[in-house]
């Protein structure tokens, strides 16, 4: 099946093949949503699963994400107005006082691969900036990253600011010194130990939100 060829090309990290096959499918009149969901996003879900299982290494995951993103750029102009249908918007950043971004960048890339719109605020981001960005972009989830124990309190401060602003957005946290217990203790809605897990968690949080709405 031709859409499956797109899926396989992503799994083969073959950017050129992804672009060629997506173009071919569009020209053949295939359903755009099917190309997006079954060809591209599902492929990244499989990549994420293989990564979490230890079958793929990070450079391979990033190559797959690049290939998928190239396919996404081809698909985007063809998505019907009002049916952009991203899986949701994630605002992500490294918290105030912390300049480390490798993990945060991996999560951001995997979130894009998972079909989310990602607003990456960079590093050293204060609580107010997270809140403003979440409002401005109608975010479903705010993702907070920290590498330093001294900046973990900034996660709690950001979550507090989000609650005080009365936003419906969910929060999730991650980073080397961060644990699930810490996440619960500061009132975060979710935690993940790795990038693919973060995508799953974000999907769960957005699904929970939709059910509650």
């Amino acid at each position: 099946m031709a859409i499956n060829d797109i899926f396989q090309a992503v799994l083969a990290f073959d950017q050129a093949a992804v672009i060629e096959k997506v173009n071919a499918e569009i020209a053949a009149g295939s359903d755009i949503q099917a190309i997006l969901n079954e060809g591209l996003i599902s492929a990244m879900d499989e990549v994420g699963k293989k990564f979490s299982d230890g079958d793929l290494f990070v450079p391979e995951m990033l190559m797959a994400a690049q290939a998928m993103k190239a396919g996404l750029e081809v698909v985007k102009p063809h998505l019907a107005d009002g049916a952009t249908e991203s899986r949701g918007t994630i605002v992500i950043g490294t918290v105030k006082g912390d300049l480390h971004d490798i993990g945060k960048n991996l999560v951001a890339m995997m979130m894009e691969g998972g079909g989310f719109e990602v607003v990456d605020l960079g590093v050293d981001v204060d609580a107010e900036k997270f809140v403003e960005a979440a409002k401005a972009h109608n975010a479903g989830v705010i993702g907070l990253s920290a590498l330093l124990t001294t900046t973990m309190p900034a996660m709690e401060a950001t979550i507090k600011a989000v609650k005080e602003a009365g936003l419906a957005v969910k929060t999730m946290v991650g980073g080397a010194p961060v644990t699930e217990d810490f996440a619960a203790s500061i009132g975060a809605d979710g935690y993940s130990a790795d990038a693919p897990g973060a995508v799953e968690m974000a999907r769960k949080l957005i699904a929970d939100q939709k059910m509650a709405a």
Binding site: F57, V58, I102, L106, T150, P153, A176, P177, D194
Partner: protein, 471 residues
């Protein structure tokens, strides 16, 4: 004569150095503080916004102005060490969790910090103390480092490591030292504190690091100019490429320190690893770490003639187990062979420097001592060749009761904790596992540690100093 493992030929080492010079002079380093940029510019660096290109001439001048060796003195002045090549053992830097066989892993607390300082004071192979062997997450920043300084000054007289922090906190931590010493000219009288200063790899230095370098250098205290690259993530995947980058980064910190105060002591400090490419994380157990350090330490010894510091003993083990012993042991031996120098991270560290183990902290002593013993190499002399002795003892003779054996047997290495006992003896004494033995030992050392090393007057001075610098 010490054994030495060189990873490059002399010619390759020169080319290696020239590669780093090219990076510094053509690619440049970003310094995120205008004052530092201006300072470097005034010394001949080429500047473009915050990007600083350091010419070879400035680099050479700064390497030359560093002391070839220096003395690092403890707070009370009673103890000091010479810093150059001879190995000096320092506690860990950075673990967030503490672990032991009874209570498992948990976030380190204030009591754990004090315990580790006491243990580092008590353990014979450790030469340096202080710094951040465990972090104390329960204390906010404004109280945390003040508490740590107070603990160090009370519980050890070994030379101390300080902290790389923002300007206010560096001044707080150095201020409490100065105030407790009761001497506002203390910094000119010796080198008492060192701070490890690390860039944001690749090729950038943040404001806090710059502030720390500038404050320590200005006060003639020790700048451990370090580089902590993860090959494949923040440096080239090729270990030699990361070594070139590491060398460039270390030298950029050295140049800044020397521009602040020519002649201030700098420790050339290697601390990079290979990234663990499976999940894009810090590869604590990577054997490539020492392969990255090799060329850098070789350049530091043969070309720059600088005192050296090598991150040694790190691992990715989750427990004090075979993996921990193997990874730490191999790292220690390689570090001893590539040059020696000052060693952080070799006492108790686990799990990519996230955790400190009380038991491993005891057992690592043997890995270090053993590696340093091998480093000494063989004594070569007529007497050592032992021809006359072998002839005298003759075929089927015994050496066991010979005076030569009696005179020299203690020169062989024996462990303090590793189990070399006969099985029968071991069983007779309760068949304790190594970890059980280490557990008993750390508790014994803590129980025997004095509450303070300070006299009542010094205690009063310390309390006043802590109160003065409370934020």
């Amino acid at each position: 004569m010490p054994l030495r493992l060189k990873m490059l030929t002399d010619e390759q080492c020169q080319l290696f150095h020239e590669a780093s010079v090219k990076i510094l002079s053509e690619t440049g380093v970003r310094f995120f503080k205008p004052e530092a940029v201006e300072l470097l510019k005034s010394h001949g660096a080429k500047v473009d916004g915050n990007l600083v290109r350091i010419p070879a001439s400035l680099l050479d001048e700064c390497i030359k102005s560093c002391p070839r060796e220096f003395t690092w003195t403890g707070f009370s002045g009673q103890r000091s060490v010479n810093v150059r090549r001879e190995p000096l053992i320092q506690p860990a830097v950075g673990p967030v969790f503490i672990q032991d066989i009874e209570n498992g892993r948990r976030p380190a607390c204030a009591e754990d910090y004090k315990n580790v300082i006491k243990l580092m004071h008590a353990i014979d192979v450790v030469d340096i103390n202080g710094g951040l062997p465990v972090d104390v997450g329960e204390l906010p920043s404004e109280k945390r480092y003040l508490f740590m300084m107070e603990s160090m000054l009370r519980h050890t007289d070994k030379p101390l490591v300080g902290f790389c922090l923002n300007k206010q906190l560096v001044n707080q931590t150095m201020g409490v030292f100065e105030s407790a010493a009761g001497d506002d000219d203390i910094w000119e009288k010796g080198h008492f504190l060192a701070s490890v200063c690390t860039p944001l790899s690749p090729l950038a230095v943040d404001e806090d690091t710059i502030d720390t370098v500038m404050l320590y250098a200005k006060r003639n205290q020790i700048v451990m100019s370090a580089s902590c690259i993860m090959a494949g993530l923040t440096g080239p995947i090729n270990p030699l490429g990361t070594a070139v980058l590491q060398n460039a980064e270390i030298l950029s910190g050295l140049v800044l320190a020397q521009c602040v105060r020519p002649g201030c002591p700098v420790l050339y400090s290697v601390a990079s690893v290979a990234g663990y490419m499976k999940d894009g994380s810090f590869g604590g157990g990577s054997p490539e770490a020492m392969m990255i350090h090799g060329p850098c330490i070789q350049a530091a010894m043969d070309l720059y003639d600088l005192p050296i510091r090598t991150m040694t003993g790190i691992n990715s083990a989750k427990e004090a187990d075979y993996q921990a012993g193997m990874e730490t042991g191999m790292s220690a031996l390689l570090s001893a062979l590539i040059g020696g120098g000052e060693w952080p991270q070799c006492m108790g560290v686990l799990d990519d420097i996230m955790t400190l183990s009380y038991e491993k902290l005891i057992l690592d002593r043997d890995a270090i001592s053993r590696a340093l013993h091998v480093r000494k190499g063989l004594e070569f002399s007529e007497e050592a060749l032992s021809v006359d002795l072998i002839s005298e003892v003759g075929p089927q003779g015994s050496y066991l009761t010979h005076p030569d054996t009696f005179k020299n047997f203690s020169k062989l290495w024996t462990p303090k904790y590793m189990n070399w006992e006969s099985r029968a003896n071991w069983e007779k004494n309760g068949s304790l596992s190594l970890l059980e033995k280490a557990n008993k030992e750390y508790k014994r050392l803590l129980a025997e540690s004095p509450e303070t090393l300070l006299s009542p007057d010094q205690e009063k001075a310390l309390s006043r100093a802590v109160e003065k610098f409370a934020i």
